[in-house]
Symmetry: D2
Subunit: 400 residues, 4 copies
């Protein structure tokens, strides 16, 4: 239960921080320009590819992936590095090839994919030659309850035929997203958690329809491929594209979600730190009624509260990472749920207050705050809304 970064973690974190300061933060305005110049495109922008090249040269690459294939970091080692990337969520995770949903998809392929599947899709993803999407949430049902899933995957000879409708398929608007991992039901009559399977669907398979982009608050998240509604009209793929065996979809999803959730929380801490840094800078630089904002009202208290919250939740994230490393993701479920609930909402409050300290600038694109806000707000819904996790955690505690 030693949370201090070891030499490896410290080295990566220091280098990631330097890279952030020297390359990523200055690139944010470049990204804005490139996005403004090509308002109708969804593809990876040049500045992202440029940063990726520079990061790869510095071995700041695939840090999320434990074991061979990735950088070999433990969760505990990865945590402070991921936090650094949270300072610039539009650019830093992508720069290091550590951006969702590719990370989760690579993990699925790494842990459950066949050699052929890994050769065809994992390798180019690890090199960032392609991107990917994860098609799980559906528009018509409460998707936090996996039994609600309506998409069907039917065996037909040597093929599976997929039909259904997904949305919030993050990254799918990007034409570079060459491969989709789709969750659907192979056997609606099986046990509750054996009904679902996951299958690989190449983007260009006939019957795949990218219906429309979705927005988050007013942001289309065009920088990293947006979020799509995707229809699957009797899409036919070879049986070899199934991941794992029939009925293993729920288990794979659970395996995928644990790391995904903690990665979100690690980055969220960085988002919170950036908001706090912005709040401090603003409070120190603005004058009203003859005094610095830092010297009046409740801002001092907000700053103090933010510091306390970030410190205590960072420790909880680190403990969770340590547990995942030592006793496994399943045994760490209570802690994963805890941080999934606690971190995003705490960071939401910090960002909201940072906005308030900035006045009208705070809601505009002159600061990264409203886009950070939109991102963190979504995390309270993504991968299951807070309330589902609170209920689960409460039930577990009541039964101990």
């Amino acid at each position: 239960m030693d949370f201090a970064p070891d030499d490896i973690a410290r080295d990566y974190t220091d280098r990631a921080r330097i890279f952030l300061d020297e390359h990523v933060l200055p690139a944010e305005s470049v990204l804005d320009e490139q996005l403004a110049a090509t308002p109708d495109e969804w593809g990876t922008r040049a500045i992202v590819r440029d940063l990726q090249r520079r990061a790869q040269e510095r071995s700041l690459w695939n840090l999320f992936l434990p074991g061979e294939g990735g950088a070999g970091l433990t969760n505990l080692q990865y945590a402070p590095v991921a936090e650094v990337t949270g300072w610039s969520p539009r650019l830093a995770p992508a720069a290091f090839n550590c951006a969702a949903p590719d990370t989760g998809n690579m993990e699925v392929l790494h842990d459950f994919g066949t050699v052929e599947q890994q050769e065809k899709w994992l390798k180019p993803l690890l090199r960032a030659e392609i991107r990917s999407s994860f098609c799980m949430t559906e528009p018509d049902v409460a998707s936090s309850d996996a039994t609600n899933i309506g998409t069907r995957i039917r065996r037909d000879g040597d093929s599976y035929v997929i039909s259904g409708r997904k949305w919030w398929s993050t990254g799918a608007m990007n034409p570079d997203a060459a491969i989709f991992i789709v969750m659907g039901k192979t056997d609606p009559d099986a046990d509750r958690h054996r009904q679902q399977s996951m299958i690989l669907v190449p983007r260009d398979t006939p019957g795949v329809e990218i219906v429309r982009p979705l927005s988050v608050f007013g942001y289309d998240d065009r920088d990293h491929g947006g979020h799509a509604e995707v229809a699957f009209h009797d899409v036919r793929v070879p049986v070899a594209d199934l991941i794992g065996e029939e009925g293993s979809g729920f288990a794979i999803a659970q395996a995928r979600l644990g790391p995904g959730r903690i990665h979100h929380c690690m980055r969220a801490l960085g988002m919170g730190e950036r908001a706090l840094a912005l709040m401090v800078a603003r409070a120190n630089s603005r004058q009203a009624f003859g005094r610095s904002l830092a010297d009046q009202g409740v801002i001092r208290e907000w700053v103090a509260e933010a510091r306390i919250t970030l410190e205590s939740l960072r420790l909880l994230v680190l403990k969770t990472a340590w547990l995942m490393d030592t006793v496994g993701n399943r045994a760490a479920m209570t802690e994963i749920q805890s941080i999934k609930i606690a971190v995003p909402r705490a960071v939401q409050t910090i960002i909201d207050r940072a906005i308030q300290v900035h006045g009208a600038a705070g809601v505009s694109s002159d600061t990264p705050l409203p886009e950070l806000y939109a991102g963190i707000r979504s995390l309270r819904i993504a991968d299951g809304p807070d309330e589902v996790h609170l209920a689960g955690l409460g039930r577990a505690e009541l039964r101990r």
Copy 2:
């Protein structure tokens, strides 16, 4: 202190409600289409003009303006009508010609304008032939402290020369916004509250530069003319364009802000009611884990809390309106500050929870919720941040 709507108020409210249901709510998707079809335009869309025509036919017009010129409603009579317009803040206020910042600008012209100024600008505004903007907030200073204002208005012969930079000039991106009311300093050495003046600046005056649009949580608010940064480069207007006398700017601003703040609060209640209605509908229609959302978890509590909050704050808004009608805006200052603080943040919580109940749909444009959220969040900053009002209110209470 009788808050029940009288016959006049009831009549207007009933008709406004019918108009909302029959004309405005169905027009929301039409507006979306018209906006999507002309992404580079900032002007008033056809559907708005169409609704305005229909509303005018029904005498649902200029309801905000007390006395002659407007509909002659008291604040107490106007309150429930304005609340109805809050259900569709993008369309209903404009449809009734009761949208900020035109309302405040018309009030200023009505109360402080010369006959010539009224003839030239107030009359076309009352007919919605033109729109207007209010240029007060500045990018470089904490504008809640009026002594911070940097824009200068210098007398030069028969002219005033205006130089400075404003932002959050709502509506100014709309080419129909023919007239700007600009706040600046005529005498930086005068007493604290006698330094400022207000002046009329026609949009097409040489030296007026519309620098750029600003966004609110990703929304450009293109539907009602957005928010502009505006530079005034030695802009010269005749002395007759000054509103009131030199040094009266602060007093006019205060006079303008009282009604403006309560109007915002009235509409905010309607926004809260709509969010609650959406929350209830969603909770009743969605199933998860075998039960309706309405039957589980904390949603029932959220619904109850929303109802309690809306009821109690509506009464406080009505009392404030009644005080403004009976003892005047100045004597109602404590109450105006109270609702300015309490209503937007309460409605923010309700909308946030409505988002949560909607899951991923809640942050997307498939519901009006995120745009309502962006709007209400801005209200906690507009017309002075909550904290400035809390401090003022606290000081007054401590000195009673």
Copy 3:
């Protein structure tokens, strides 16, 4: 919906306020002395009888009771008077003979009692010659669910025989509490809300055992008769002592609870006003780090928030009173639930902050704050915990 106090209400309120300032507040230390001098007694102290005499002389008496028998005030008229009594909850309600549980018990006798019952018990209660207790809550069950009640009332010839155990029988430690109203089941097999009946049990009936006093935080509430656990061991009373008919107990309880809840809320507002007044006085008089407390930190915000909350909730209480007067208690149920939930918890926060502003003095008996806190905290549980009301209110809103 006119909430302004009319002439009658204003007259009573003004006189009650004067009485409070001149007689009640100065008597608080006298009560403390009399309590300290007789630590083992539970009876009404001399200062209370003295205040009652003075109040009765001034016709500040039985103000709670609508119609003949009482002062004839409407709920709306009574509200501001009751608020005044909340400033000194240990003394003022008793001084005016408006203290729970006597008020509720007198209402029950007034509305549902036979002439004989009224002659024997209501009249001496109205003259404050005796006091009373209400025995409903039971130690072993969640009493907010009336079907849980375990006490039995069995018909046996011309008698009813009562057996069971009650607690939180407020006032019952006082030997002056001559009559108990007991809720029990006459028919456990009847419909859910027809199982219960209420019956009169004189204190000195054989089988009545005052088991022990209960404390609220560290207070035994000895000043007004405390709270007792009471056992009924086959207690036999004549059939004429039944109130109403068999099976009407739940309905009578509901009828009793509406006024009881709003009276609690009215007084709670007065408790909140007193806490705010104490907070203001303290903040203005204390210095730390070279400045008055009023000039630093968050105290100004607390004061402002308290003012906003008290204003808005007072209006909701007045609206509820007005509804009870005009459409009846049943039709006002949503509003009664709303204030039952909202007022005590809001006042709890105000008192808690007032404590904090007082530092260590705030938790001691040198201020009335901790005892006010204990009282208001209990209100969130008494007459049904907040959560039961929130759930009920939410359900109603979801079904509208």
Copy 4:
């Protein structure tokens, strides 16, 4: 930064837990009986001495004191042991001779006392033969600002003469409290933090007057010697009774407060755990409206929130302990302030909710909850109110 308990910590914690379960918790009702039997006495009760004897036999003794003299535990090792004692704050700390204010006083004597002072007062304290009190807070000033202190310590030949008035001298009502450490000003004209000195005053010195006991939410805390107001009327002691040198009082107080604050937080976590355990047990055992409380409403969420909060704040306390052990109390000041602010208020919420789940029983002495509440509430004021620490922490963060 390894927070896992080592072998020594685990051994002590396990034995402390067993002792708690087997000896302390069953002794709580015995203490109640002994207190009820001797309502006018303030001395240490027999059950406490009995527990002390048993604890001493098991070497569960003086665990708080680092280095020789105590058990030699680091702060990190002591933390989980102290948490165990928080489950029964009235008995367990005293049983292990680890109760405030003796702990802080022993630390002062250990770190700053002369050999003679240690011989005379520290040794009997370490054997629990006597108890002690710390006289710092004053009734007339905001004592969080040490320059406000009014007590004077004047040199007069070979004596110091002390005059002033203190209150909240915890333990001082207990006649066993043989020695008082008194903070006063030796030089009001010195630098801000060099004005104060600390001096030993034996209880029986002429001029020491125990004025009265103080209560906390109705509790007199008679079990551990209560809280006294103490007057010092020209109390004369030899110069050898000064602790350290003249002007060192503020520095000694700061040195004393660091450990004192973290000890409070460690115990507070145990109080929170006990409240959570009681909440869970109650929710699982009570039925209402046909279902267990655990299956309805918000209780599940409360339980989950409590678990998350306790986990994250425990980690922050452990990190603070680790910092104190490794870089010293001064360098850990930010963390000490953080836990001083965050832990008591979080535990206050948990206890408040546990009360709510218990219904009326929750505010009575049938559960330990209201007394736990009174204790934790006081911690938000003791050793400086939250707001002073928040402001300090915020200032530091704003200046980083």
